[in-house]
């Protein structure tokens, strides 16, 4: 009997019967909206001459609308990862893994169902982030009469790739939660790696050409490559994968982490 579809439907209900999903969606929207709106206002004020010449020091950076829109993924990607990791770790924390495996004894099916649903949920967060970055960012730029770039199809393609990036981050979260089944352990690892370790590695790897060739495969760099714009790109020192290359690197990481997680925590005795 095929149990994947019932398992996917059960995983969907697990999310909607608890509150975390919309709490995180609100925080994600507010966070990205404030950042996009803030930088949008900065660009707008600069372009309309509200700010005196030389009062902003952008170190030669061109602030353009796509940078603002990319906040949706460059800042927002951590939300689907944490959410997905918690969807896995709370099963162990609250021992609901017992009724889960009783209802669906094929453990690989349960993990696959989680990956499917959290891919979809990551895409949902991607839409929320794109709305916050694109909506609030463009509205702010428009308020100052600056160019929003929304007439350019490339901008819309960027927002679309952002949705795909966050969907893949959802699957990576499932993998990370399975690799580190401790809820606190996995959240701390995700926050420390994405917010501190990886930015430092990306900066350090950009210092020489040959390390840059490795650094472009870092998850955050691959994600930025997929979306096609980021602060790092604006700096212009890092080499980057093509957008599809970034997408494949993220997909590879997603598959590898889920498969690894299966062997680490999903086949173990549940006691």
């Amino acid at each position: 009997m095929n149990t994947l579809i019932p398992a996917v439907r059960a995983e969907f209900l697990k999310i909607t019967t608890t509150r975390l999903w919309w709490v995180l969606a609100l925080i994600l929207f507010a966070y990205v909206a404030v950042m996009a709106g803030g930088i949008g206002a900065l660009i707008g004020a600069q372009e309309t001459g509200l700010l005196p010449e030389g009062s902003t020091n952008t170190q030669g950076l061109t602030l353009d609308p796509t940078l603002i829109y990319s906040f949706g993924s460059s800042l927002g990607f951590v939300f689907p990862v944490i959410f997905a990791a918690m969807a896995v770790t709370q099963e162990f924390r609250h021992k609901t893994i017992t009724p889960t495996f009783l209802a669906t004894p094929a453990r690989g099916t349960v993990l696959a169902a989680k990956a499917v649903i959290l891919f979809a949920w990551g895409a949902f967060y991607g839409i929320v982030a794109a709305l916050a970055a694109g909506g609030v960012g463009a509205a702010t730029l428009a308020a100052f009469g600056s160019d929003t770039g929304l007439e350019d199809p490339a901008t819309w393609a960027l927002l679309g790739r952002m949705v795909i990036a966050l969907a893949l981050w959802g699957v990576i979260g499932v993998g990370l939660g399975s690799l580190i089944p401790s809820q606190i352990g996995s959240i701390v690892t995700i926050v420390v790696f994405t917010q501190f370790v990886e930015p430092i590695l990306r900066f350090a790897s950009s210092l020489t050409d040959w390390t840059g060739e490795i650094g472009k495969f870092l998850p955050g760099a691959a994600s930025d490559a997929l979306v096609g714009a980021s602060f790092y790109r604006m700096v212009g020192t890092t080499s980057s994968l093509p957008w599809w290359g970034g997408g494949l690197a993220l997909l590879g990481l997603a598959i590898a982490s889920v498969v690894g997680g299966y062997f680490v925590s999903w086949r173990r005795d549940v006691s």
């Binding site: 889960t100 094929a106 005795d269």
Partner: protein
């Protein structure tokens, strides 16, 4: 029509690094009866049940339902219903939400969720978060989860723990009713007195090994019995009883005659013309028999 399958454990063994948690457990649990799986905490009850349900892998041996291991069952939730601990719930989910999730996973219609909530008396609390449930309500919710698929086999780990006296009376009736319908009912407990009025058959496990398998009635036969008798002619009675092959010892309450009935002792005294002042029959309780099993582990 309910189909109760026999549960078969054959040579089930679980070894952790240096502990033998379950050692060569072999037993058959019959349909249509309530079977108590008894033993002190840490004796291996929960590990055995988890092996039975495919949650823990056995080092050796197999556990099946009518010949099929849990993980190979075509539709596990409608064959076997289990509740293993009173707190495997997400505290933020409502009782209704919890059951709905597992109903979906097992392709059980949503209407059945309402039915089982009603059956365990949780309809009024269905929309409250489980985090606010009492232990007794969690037990009822776990039981509702076990009954979701209307299974022929029901496995419950310590189901009476945390229930109030009214709840205990209710669950006893329910378990008997389920067994009478032809289902196989297996419940574990660390206290015999808790399940004494409910179970037909008993498995006693001690340090991972089965030390008793049989009916509760047979277990009662193992109770130690004796008679105390008071008489002014102590020496005369003692020799008459000893002559009949009975073991006699002297206590402050009079003579103690082991493994004898009051009628037997009274008759011997009467035929020997001995005056008696009191004659009393004594027996150890089932709980003491159980505790003796726990200590000695004799088969």
């Amino acid at each position: 029509m309910v189909q109760g399958l026999p549960i078969q454990l054959s040579g089930v063994t679980k070894r952790y690094a240096n502990v033998l948690a379950v050692n060569n457990v072999t037993a058959t649990i019959a349909p249509g009866r309530v079977t108590g799986f008894l033993g002190p905490n840490g004796a291996g009850k929960t590990t055995t049940l988890r092996i039975l349900l495919g949650l823990v892998g056995a080092t050796q041996g197999v556990a099946t339902f009518g010949g099929t291991p849990y993980r190979k069952l075509a539709s596990p939730a409608s064959t076997v219903g289990a509740a293993l601990e009173a707190n495997s719930f997400h505290p933020g989910r409502t009782g209704l939400g919890h059951l709905s999730v597992y109903a979906r996973a097992a392709s059980i219609p949503q209407s059945r969720v309402t039915t089982v909530l009603d059956l365990v008396g949780l309809s009024d609390a269905a929309d409250r978060r489980v985090g606010g449930y009492s232990l007794g309500m969690r037990q009822r919710l776990g039981l509702a989860g076990a009954l979701l698929g209307d299974p022929g086999v029901i496995v419950l780990d310590e189901p009476i723990n945390g229930l109030d006296p009214e709840g205990i009376k209710w669950i006893r009736g329910l378990l008997k009713h389920l067994a009478d319908e032809g289902r196989t009912v297996l419940i574990s407990s660390h206290m015999l007195t808790e399940v004494q009025q409910t179970v037909d058959d008993v498995l006693v496990i001690r340090r991972g090994e089965l030390v008793y398998t049989g009916t509760l009635t047979d277990m009662e036969q193992r109770n130690e019995t004796w008679v105390t008798v008071e008489t002014p002619s102590t020496e005369l009675l003692r020799s008459s009883l000893t002559a009949q092959g009975l073991g006699v010892s002297e206590t402050p309450e009079g003579l103690r005659v082991a493994n004898a009935s009051a009628a037997q002792v009274g008759h011997i005294a009467f035929t020997s013309g001995i005056e008696l002042h009191s004659l009393q029959h004594h027996s150890t309780g089932l709980e003491e028999t159980f505790l003796a099993l726990m200590q000695e582990g004799q088969q």
